[in-house]
């Protein structure tokens, strides 16, 4: 229960920051993608199921407020969370390489799908332009933010896991 509340709060806070403050702090009209960091991190820290559910709700938020159709981002983020969950066995908290690679890959793949479904289908073929001016800058900015946000999320998760262990220990 406690975990649910804290995870929901994390998603809400990241969504609010991403849609307001980080839009003011954007460089060359590019801002980082915090929700993908949250989805991806909880995916490989907690497994397929939690990543999937968090991704679904983060995507749904984007759909409701900014999407043109309901469900597209929800679907995309859900698969991102689920796929990241497959790497849970390879994940060790001390090692930052795997989280970095996974989060970057998630961000790029997400943007590639957005390009494919929402731009290529409208005959916007200048892929190299979008790659250089949208996808890669967003990737760089997202990685920069990841360095801070990932450790915060890791600490939250470790705290939660500790309290969970303690409370289950009482009954055994």
């Amino acid at each position: 229960m406690k975990r649910k509340i804290i995870v929901i709060l994390t998603v809400i806070i990241c969504f609010l920051l991403q849609s307001t403050i980080f839009k003011f702090l954007s460089f060359a009209s590019i801002s980082p993608n915090l929700l993908i960091i949250v989805t991806s991190s909880f995916g490989f820290m907690r497994g397929k199921k939690e990543g999937m559910v968090i991704g679904f709700f983060s995507g749904l938020l984007i759909d409701i407020f900014y999407g043109s159709v309901i469900g597209l981002y929800a679907l995309l983020y859900m698969y991102v969370g689920y796929t990241n969950g497959l790497f849970r066995k390879m994940f060790f908290p001390e090692d930052i390489k795997l989280p970095m690679i996974l989060i970057s890959a998630s961000d790029v793949i997400c943007n590639l799908f957005v390009y494919f479904f929402l731009f290529l289908f409208r005959r916007k073929f200048a892929f190299d332009y979008y790659l250089i001016h949208i996808i890669i800058p967003e990737l760089v900015y997202t990685i920069l933010v990841t360095i801070f946000l990932y450790f915060i999320l890791l600490k939250i998760n470790q705290k939660l896991e500790m309290t969970e262990k303690r409370s289950t220990g009482k009954f055994v």
Binding site: I12, L17, G71, G85
Partner: protein, 287 residues
């Protein structure tokens, strides 16, 4: 109790189920043009107050920082503007006389005023699209303040965009620089129609938007001509300034022209917008 908690649905079935839900939602909202409905209401009440709060604090701080930075340049500008005011006042007087004459003539012709003054409501921009692909933003007025979808949004004197979705206390606005936006425009000088597209690439590189299909048979269109919304459009009310022609070239078909427009609104720094409450009557019968 214990047994129940041991039974878990494998996550791949949940994934399949949620994918189906998303698929259906995409199909339904795409074909029937439906919006979130109850989802909008819930999300609106949870997020909009918080976004409004953050935005209030954020813009307050940015205002303070900007104030200090701008003081010097504003003082120089002030003197320049004072001189300009004098020049303009004299110009205004002559125009007033002409307007008076025009009014009289219109009255004689029993013409209605060409552009009725629309009823408007002011709103603040509270958040922007989380991604970097589209220019969609939300404002802090919704259906409770009388806003409906397809209402036009302006800032200053220029067109900003159109309301695409409303919740009870917020509305989603797609700006004209958005890559999916298309507006039917018209040159004020020649009354020739054209189509104004938003374009992500052109906007990022030159802060411009594109226009195509300008039928300028008399070859009178020139750089600097203002483009306004035309009478053909079914969503945009007539006569709102979109921007000024920046470049102009003849298409390969030798019949139409295309080029770029400099929008009349500074889209980087929109904070306050006006929503026009009069909708264009598209001729559809109201239910």
């Amino acid at each position: 109790m214990k047994r129940k908690s041991k039974f878990k649905i494998p996550s791949k079935y949940i994934l399949m189920f949620l994918s189906a839900v998303c698929g259906i939602a995409i199909y339904v909202s795409f074909t029937m043009n439906l919006s979130g409905g109850p989802l909008n209401t819930v999300a609106g009440y949870v997020f909009v107050p918080m976004q409004r709060g953050i935005n209030y604090v954020g813009s307050f701080l940015i205002d303070k920082a900007d104030n200090l930075k701008n003081l010097k340049s504003v003082m120089a500008e002030n003197q320049e503007l004072k001189a300009q005011v004098d020049a303009l006042t004299s110009e205004l007087n002559t125009i007033k006389l002409e307007q008076y004459e025009l009014d009289n003539l219109r009255e004689l012709l029993a013409l209605d005023q060409k552009y009725p003054s629309y009823e408007k409501v002011a709103a603040n921009v509270i958040s922007k699209d989380t991604g970097n692909w589209f220019s969609v933003f939300t404002i802090d007025k919704g259906s409770k303040d009388g806003i409906e979808t397809d209402m036009n949004v302006i800032a200053g004197s220029g067109l900003v965009g159109v309301v695409t979705d409303v919740g009870p206390n917020y509305a989603k606005v797609r700006s004209i620089i958005d890559d999916t936006s298309k507006v039917s425009g018209m040159l004020t000088t020649t009354s020739d129609g054209c189509i104004v597209h938003g374009d992500l690439q052109e906007m990022n590189e030159n802060q411009n938007i594109l226009f195509t299909d300008l039928k300028d048979s008399d070859d009178k269109a020139a750089v600097g001509d203002p483009v306004v919304t035309s009478y053909i459009s079914d969503k945009y009310v007539q006569g709102i300034l979109i921007g000024y022609i920046n470049t102009l070239e003849v298409d390969s078909n030798n019949l139409t022209k295309s080029g770029t427009l400099t929008p009349a609104v500074d889209f980087e720094h929109i904070q306050e917008v006006l929503v026009i409450l009069d909708k264009k009557d598209s001729g559809e019968t109201k239910k």
